[in-house]
């Protein structure tokens, strides 16, 4: 870990510390609304890191990460509502559930040489039929949804992952920071190098002695596990779960936006992407209200246009460009 810190140029160290201090101090100045936006920023940064591990590093496109998000959310939430098992314990059950799902998807795909877009289709299929399954699963409320009571005893306590926005803010911040550290460490680990090799050229990776099936399975295992933790957060933050929302392909797409815009396969890309995109969506909403535009879909059009502009200007993401501008790029960033 100390290695990662030493590798940062001085300017990077200062910037990292400043950003961290600002993030920790933000609740002092931020109002409730701004805090809710920041919670989403860190939530998407965290999930972006999880997805980027699989796509950006190991080169495997998943368009069904809602599967792991939903399984994580449903497992922890159901354990609490049905058996009174709190989320801090529930998360350790949610992780293996989502990880197992990831292993099944990975095994089915890669064992039978389903690669690229076909693998992506497989990930969508799994998320979709899990959604349909939960739509009919009576014990978790089926399509009518699963709700966390707000006034049952102890439900507003931190040990039950309940409480005010501050709790969720710091929790999301810790998740995002920890995920970024984890990814930075993995990137410089033997495993990280193997993932890059698999992404760049599977055949050449094999010739370098890499068991590419194993490398990809480890990637999806970690990615799904991390996403499940995000799911637990989702479940206890929103306090209601509908299969049609949490397993929706829209969920999967919103997870992948930040790392794509920020920079695929970079450590800071998901973070930068989330910092750009979430406020963008929010400010568009505010602008629309301000100018009294309420045409359905108008916000989506402007959002889409902005993304197109960013992608056209910086096809490899905002972070690599920003890193150059800030003088943070090193020949081997």
């Amino acid at each position: 870990m100390s290695n990662i810190w030493q590798r940062l140029p001085t300017r990077g160290k200062i910037l990292c510390l400043a950003a961290l201090v600002a993030a920790i101090a933000a609740p002092l100045v931020a109002d409730r609304y701004l805090l809710s936006v920041l919670i989403l920023v860190f939530y998407f940064a965290y999930l972006g890191q999880a997805w980027n591990l699989l796509m950006g590093f190991a080169g495997q496109l998943s368009l069904g990460h809602a599967l792991y998000l939903g399984l994580g959310a449903y497992t922890a939430t159901a354990l609490w509502t049905l058996f009174g098992i709190g989320p801090w314990i529930g998360v350790f059950i949610a992780i293996p559930v989502a990880a197992a799902a990831g292993m099944i998807v990975g095994w089915l795909g890669w064992r039978f040489a389903i690669e690229g877009v076909y693998f992506a289709l497989l990930t969508i299929a799994f998320a979709e039929f899990t959604r349909i399954g939960f739509d009919h699963l009576q014990i978790t409320g089926a399509s009518a949804g699963l709700f966390l009571s707000v006034n049952s005893p102890g439900s507003d306590k931190w040990w039950n992952l309940g409480g005010g926005p501050l709790l969720y803010y710091y929790l999301a911040l810790i998740l995002a920071a920890a995920a970024t550290l984890l990814v930075a460490w993995l990137r410089r680990s033997p495993l990280g190098y193997r993932w890059l090799a698999v992404r760049e050229d599977p055949e050449a990776a094999r010739a370098a002695g890499i068991d590419i099936f194993r490398a990809k399975m480890i990637a999806i295992l970690i990615s799904a596990s991390m996403t499940a933790v995000g799911g637990v957060f989702y479940g206890f933050y929103y306090r209601n779960l509908f299969p049609s929302q949490v397993f929706d392909i829209g969920r999967s797409i919103e997870i992948i936006m930040a790392p794509i815009i920020g920079g695929l396969g970079t450590v800071f890309g998901p973070l930068v992407g989330a910092i750009l995109l979430t406020p963008l969506g929010e400010s568009l909403t505010a602008l629309m209200q301000h100018f009294g535009v309420n045409t359905p879909g108008a916000k989506s059009i402007f959002y889409g246009l902005t993304l197109m502009v960013i992608i056209t200007l910086q096809p490899s993401g905002v972070w690599p460009w920003l890193a150059r501008k800030l003088g943070l790029d090193r020949p081997r960033a």
């Binding site: 410089r188 680990s189 033997p190 190098y193 193997r194 890059l196 090799a197 760049e200 050229d201 055949e203 050449a204 990776a205 094999r206 010739a207 370098a208 002695g209 890499i210 068991d211 590419i212 020949p331 081997r332």
Partner: protein, 240 residues
């Protein structure tokens, strides 16, 4: 002498076309063995079978006394067989050094040690000064050297080189020849497929000639290159 690599009657057919038929030969520990032959003679197919990229239809391949036919290419690599690709396959978006570190991680568990191995290997192949460049930005001769460096960094007992001199200028060829001779002197066994006869005669202690998938001659360079069958089928056509 013990054979490091022992090929016994291997064949491969592609849709009825015999790419390689019942080829047998031994590569001795410490030698440089060359496989030559016209285009389409089955050299690369033979190579891919040894490296595990494709399984042979029949026959056996033994490496250091262990049967390896049917193993996956990564398993064969881990046993100590390094290879290059005829059409070079560097990891394009990574730096030269990261490319070689990935190879070096086969012999060590720590990135730090892999970096040391990678730097030594890069220095050996005259790529040290270009270590921070992105692999896709290299010239063809440099990419070929990178290909060798990555294979070498895995710490192989046997190095399979698939036409690493093709497309190089004579001075560049001589540079690689000198490097390979050095490596061989340090104990590395090399099996090369080559079209550039200048390199073959400079390096090989023994030569196998493939023609239409079959071995038509084997022996030391003087014998083989004077063999009438070889001259007719291969060298004659290349007007040597």
């Amino acid at each position: 002498m013990t054979a490091l690599l022992s090929i016994n009657g291997i064949s491969k057919r592609f849709r009825g076309l015999a790419a390689v038929s019942r080829v047998s030969f031994d590569v001795q520990q410490g030698e440089i063995f060359a496989v030559i032959g016209p285009n389409g003679a089955g050299k690369t197919t033979l190579f891919n079978m040894i490296a595990g990229a494709i399984p042979p239809d029949e026959g056996t391949i033994a490496f250091a006394g262990e049967r390896i036919e049917g193993l996956r290419s990564d398993q064969i690599a881990r046993l100590g067989v390094g290879r290059t690709f005829q059409l070079v396959r560097p990891f394009p978006a990574l730096t030269v050094e990261d490319n070689v570190i990935i190879g070096a991680l086969m012999q060590t568990r720590t990135v730090h040690e892999a970096e040391t191995i990678a730097r030594d290997t890069l220095a050996r192949l005259d790529l040290f000064d270009k270590r921070a460049q992105i692999a896709s930005s290299l010239t063809l001769p440099d990419r070929k050297r990178l290909e060798v460096a990555r294979a070498l960094a895995t710490g192989p007992k046997l190095l399979l080189l698939d036409e690493v001199m093709a497309g190089l200028r004579p001075t560049e060829t001589d540079r690689i020849v000198a490097t390979l001779r050095d490596l061989n002197r340090d104990g590395l066994t090399i099996l090369l497929i080559e079209h550039v006869m200048r390199a073959v005669t400079a390096l090989a202690s023994r030569i196998l000639v493939l023609h239409h998938g079959a071995a038509i001659a084997e022996g030391n360079p003087e014998q083989v290159l004077r063999d009438p069958a070889v001259v007719e089928s291969y060298l004659g056509a290349e007007s040597l």
